[in-house]
């Protein structure tokens, strides 16, 4: 390839990747083909260019996937449902069925029923939150609903007028338009009894499904609307991406599945499947955004970036400003070990050392979110320390103390080895994503106290933005409660657990640790994963 050809190739690539073809496409295509055919160097440059374009899309969260999927929340004016970032999920559609199958199968893996009744920790009791609304009036007990409220499994929402946004723990967002009645079956499924909704499903929640009396719609990475009338007949409109729709006839028999693509619509009735009258006008109506008011969720946070370390300590920030009182201290015989992190530097734990953070009131029985990046070496052994972060939590009367320990599961009897695990006292949640792969994973753990004293603590785990905590049970042996052999109150430990069984130290890297005084939403988590900035609390 000579200099002229190189210049020409550069110009062709530039035009190709900035969609500048226009009428010149045919000519460009001919020249590009000729150049690529004649020169291996030109082909290599072209492939490099395709690769860099892909990597940049991936890095900026434009491509979907479970590892990297979110656009920064602050870049996306609300409502999110009309933003271009949604398109990224389109081609992930094929994963939907698998994810659904996996999630479905894992939900069946819960511990024995007798244990569940007395579990200290639950991961399936609340399945969604009310995250936004506009002029909403509600029926019955829903009249007391406030933005930010948790919605429990099995809850029936009855909106009379206006709009409401429900964010499922899986990440799926559904906007209801009154009058509508929706049953919340789980973080992954809902039943539209009657009324109108629009669903927006990010890549992490592909496989989310909504059933009505006449159809079951399984999302394949998309945005769709459903309208169910009093007779149970349902119209389904696909605004972006595609869905799989399974018709249910009057005998409640499934009569086959169809794939509906972008801009397609069908009417599912007792007598069969038909076209939707006036489709274009209806689709245009659904595509119109609704200006919702979103829940204001106050609550402070402490952040350790591990970028600024000084001998034995790593500096902390409280609500974005330096706050020495929360600095993390390594024990006197060791120093902080700094390595390349997910963002700038990270703290390395070598299996020998650990750090303490004085954290006033950490033992409160309050809602908390813990968010961080973690990298585990592929050769992590179950004999090594499995706890990356721990503190002691006390109940409302501050009598019973339970150790909160977050790390990876090293007990084969309690879930897959090497998956995310959160333990509170004798209860625990384990996930399904293998973490011992030498790669950075974004971890978010939400802890919400039960409504009544003594009721289980709710734990939601997210790995790389995806809900990853589906087993919850109570262990008879592991877990620490009661008196501890050291004054563990009001201290967060990094790199080790609490109690006799947790003396082994953690080996791996930790970066960008945040502890919030509230439960984050899925939107918050995706935003933090993409941009490493905490959600704005107003």
């Amino acid at each position: 390839m000579n200099q002229d050809e190189l210049k020409e190739l550069e110009s062709l690539l530039s035009a190709l990747f900035e969609n500048e073809g226009g009428e010149r496409v045919a000519l460009q295509s001919e020249r590009l083909t000729a150049l690529l055919k004649s020169s291996a160097a030109a082909r290599a440059m072209y492939l490099d260019y395709c690769e860099m374009h892909t990597l940049l899309q991936w890095e900026h969260g434009v491509l979907g996937g479970l590892e990297k999927s979110a656009l920064p929340a602050q870049l996306m004016p609300q409502p999110r449902s009309v933003q271009r970032g949604d398109k990224r999920a389109l081609w992930l559609a094929g994963i939907a069925a698998m994810v659904l199958l996996t999630a479905g199968a894992l939900i069946g893996l819960r511990g024995p029923a007798s244990d569940e009744l007395v579990a200290d920790v639950r991961s399936d009791d609340f399945v969604a939150r009310l995250t936004g609304s506009k002029d909403a009036t509600w029926l019955g007990r829903d009249a007391a609903l406030n933005a930010g409220d948790y919605l429990e499994q099995g809850r029936r929402l009855e909106i009379q007028t206006g709009f409401a946004e429900v964010t499922f723990n899986s990440g799926a967002q559904v906007i209801l338009e009154g009058p509508t009645s929706l049953d919340l079956s789980s973080a992954w499924e809902a039943v539209l009894r009657h009324g109108t909704l629009k669903a927006n499903v990010p890549a992490e929640a592909i496989g989310f499904r909504i059933a009505s009396p006449s159809v079951e719609v399984i999302d394949l990475g998309t945005e769709f609307s459903m309208q169910t009338d009093a007779a149970g007949e349902t119209e389904v409109f696909v605004l972006k991406g595609s869905v799989q729709a399974a018709h249910t006839d009057s005998d409640r028999q499934n009569t086959g599945k169809i794939l509906l693509k972008e801009q397609e619509a069908r009417r599912f009735g007792k007598s069969g499947v038909g076209e939707v009258k006036d489709r274009e006008r209806k689709v245009a109506r659904w595509a119109k955004p609704v200006a919702l008011e979103h829940a204001v969720m106050p609550g402070g946070f402490v952040h350790w970036s591990f970028d600024e370390t000084n001998g034995r300590l790593a500096k902390a920030e409280l609500n974005g400003s330096p706050r020495e009182a929360f600095n993390a201290f390594w024990k006197s015989t060791s120093k902080t070990l700094s390595v390349e992190g997910r963002f700038k530097s990270a703290a390395h734990f070598d299996g020998e050392t650990f750090a303490r953070i004085p954290f006033p009131n950490i033992s409160n029985n309050a809602a908390r979110s813990v968010v961080f990046w973690m990298k585990l070496p592929p050769d992590s052994l179950i004999s090594e320390g499995d706890t990356v972060l721990a503190w002691v939590r006390k109940d409302r009367k501050r009598i019973a103390a339970r150790a909160v320990q977050i790390g990876w599961n090293s007990n084969p009897a309690q879930g897959s080895i090497g998956t995310l695990r959160t333990e509170i006292g004798r209860g625990f949640v384990t996930g399904s994503t293998p973490l011992r792969d030498g790669k950075w994973h974004h971890i978010a753990i939400l802890i919400v106290p039960g409504e009544k004293p003594g009721s289980p603590v709710h734990v939601s785990q997210y790995v790389d933005g995806r809900l990853d905590g589906v087993t919850s049970t109570r262990s008879r042996r592991s877990g620490e409660t009661g008196d501890f052999d050291e004054p563990a109150g009001e201290i967060v430990f990094l790199g080790r657990g609490i109690g006799e069984q947790k003396r082994e130290k953690f080996r791996g890297d930790l970066d960008e640790l945040f502890i919030f005084e509230r439960a984050l939403t899925h939107r918050d988590i995706r935003g933090m994963m993409a941009a490493n900035t905490p959600p704005r609390s107003q």
Partner: protein, 173 residues
């Protein structure tokens, strides 16, 4: 497929999405068409999941399926929208499969290279990729000509590619 196999399959496919996208993009040369072919390929991969033997070369199998989808999409497409002729495609596909073998390492290295860019370059890349702005929009927002932005984007992509290659070469040395 057993639950374990299914979970493993989900993981393999998820981990390989960027590699698959780069492969498809290089063969169709157009982001919109690449999106469509990706979606179709993912559907077919899932439908054929049972045919995949765990432990065998997943990416080779994935690329084979994607190649057939690219060819099918070429047959459907308007002739004017096809970028390359059918003589080039097989050769390019073969080279692409080898070229994208190490996407993960490059992905890992990219973050550090992005940090080495000048603030202006970083800003333009962010506008182009995070915010999804067109050349014209970026040009209007930053007060330069679209041609200047196009050049800047091109140069920035090239220097990122060089940086990534250099870093990996140093790592491997």
């Amino acid at each position: 497929m057993s639950q374990d196999c299914s979970a493993e399959f989900v993981q393999l496919l998820t981990l390989n999405q960027s590699r698959l996208y780069a492969y498809v993009l290089s063969l169709v040369g157009n982001a919109t068409r690449a999106d469509d072919v990706m979606q179709e390929t993912n559907v077919v991969l899932w439908q054929k999941a049972a045919e995949f033997t765990p432990g065998t070369h997943f990416t080779a199998w994935m690329f084979r399926v994607a190649y057939l989808q690219v060819m099918a999409s070429r047959q459907r497409a308007n002739r004017e929208k096809i970028l390359f002729d059918s003589e080039l495609i097989p050769e390019l596909a073969q080279e692409a499969a080898a070229h994208f073998d190490d996407v993960e390492s490059r992905q890992r290295t990219l973050q550090a290279c992005l940090e080495k860019l000048s603030p202006r370059q970083r800003d333009i890349i962010r506008r182009r990729y995070s915010a999804g702005a067109t050349l014209q929009k970026i040009a209007a927002d930053v007060g330069h000509s679209a041609e200047a932005i196009k050049q800047l984007l091109f140069r920035t992509r090239l220097s990122l590619t060089e940086c990534v290659k250099r870093s990996l070469a140093t790592e491997g040395a």
